[in-house]
């Protein structure tokens, strides 16, 4: 399945909303997920596992360092699809 970056971004937002139990549509691509979701490092790793399982990819966590918004996260995922 080939995804566009927009599709990937939307899937990341939907998955994060489901995982952290926030209402669908409340997250935006430019949101800082640490601030918006109030998550810590362990929860960030949970999200990483969730994303890797969903997209069937591996995303080394050092690539996540410095990434705090969904859009950039989706771009990192897109480059692994």
């Amino acid at each position: 399945m080939t995804r566009t970056l927009d599709q990937t971004t939307q899937e990341v937002l939907d998955l994060a909303a489901r995982h952290f139990q926030v209402a669908p549509g409340t997250l935006a691509p430019s949101d800082d997920f640490f601030r918006k979701l109030g998550i810590n490092s362990l929860q960030a790793l949970e999200l990483l596992s969730r994303l890797e399982n969903h997209f069937s990819i591996e995303l080394p966590d050092y690539e996540m360092q410095g990434v705090s918004d969904f859009q950039t996260l989706a771009e990192r995922i897109q480059s692994r699809l």
Binding site: S49, E52, N53, Y62, Q65
Partner: protein, 267 residues
């Protein structure tokens, strides 16, 4: 002692199956309290072994199996000591945990690690003592020691070398990255994947299967197929102590203990 309830873990024996539950907040960090309870378990193995076919090792903590060594306790203890005493203290801790590790590694019953969530550093090394690993799909494994200027010290690398290829070990060790359960299975580290929250259930079914076989044959097969890399384990202790003597390690431990970063677990 068929059941035990300590400060950091508990075990229960039922119909030939032993279940060892790590339960020490926040995520089963291995410090003096956990070590003392692990030593109690290791000391109980000879008495438990004749009637035990399998032992499941799991965590009762929601966040994961084990986050590794108790770095806060390590830093606080080491900071109060002069360099020579600091190294002697660390060596003593390593020697003690290696005795526990070798006892668990060579137990005549089959050990099954039921792993979920975080399985990092010393926790990963604890998991590697198990003969078979069942992992929850959300489990993550890592050796983040290099960010502290150290190598794994509880026998991790020599034991991992028994199971997986050197390229995977180098990637884990030299990048400090975490890997998910699917990758861990693909390289041969994890035997079976379980759905979220189901690793213990899967491990219990496996233990029931293992219990069907002749105990003597089972023990002989395990001994034949799972040698203890004694020489490398000794070398690892020496190298760890040599690295621990460098000032950069205390600086890195201090940074970790004081970290307010969003992802302090990552290098």
């Amino acid at each position: 002692m068929k059941s035990f309830h300590g400060k950091a873990l508990r075990w229960e024996w039922r119909e030939g199956i032993l279940e060892l539950a790590l339960d020490h907040a926040p995520i089963n960090e291995i410090g003096t309290v956990m070590l003392a309870d692990l030593e109690r378990f290791a000391a109980a193995i000879p008495a438990l072994a004749p009637e035990t076919s399998a032992c499941i090792v799991y965590s009762a903590r929601k966040e994961g199996f084990c986050a590794g060594a108790d770095l806060r306790e390590l830093y606080r203890g080491a900071a109060a000591l002069a360099e020579k005493e600091r190294i002697a203290g660390v060596r003593d801790f390593l020697e003690r945990i290696h005795v526990v590790a070798n006892a668990m590694d060579t137990a005549p019953f089959v050990t099954i690690g039921a792993i979920h969530g975080l399985c990092f550093g010393g926790g990963f090394e604890l998991a590697l003592l198990c003969d078979i690993i069942v992992a929850d799909k959300m489990a993550r494994f890592a050796f983040p020691e290099l960010r502290l200027g150290l190598i794994p010290g509880f026998g991790g690398i020599p034991r991992l070398k028994r199971d997986v290829g050197n390229a995977f070990i180098r990637e884990l060790l030299l990048t400090g990255r975490t890997v998910n359960a699917t990758r861990a299975q693909s390289v041969g580290l994890v035997a079976q994947l379980a759905a979220e929250g189901e690793a213990l259930k899967v491990a219990r079914l496996m233990a029931a299967q293992i219990a069907k076989f002749d105990p003597g044959t089972r023990a002989a097969a395990k001994k034949f197929i799972k040698p203890i890399p004694h020489d490398e384990l000794r070398q690892e202790i020496d190298l760890f102590c040599e690295l621990f003597a460098r000032p950069a390690v205390m600086a890195a431990l201090k940074k970790f203990v004081e970290a307010t970063d969003a992802m302090p677990y990552l290098p």
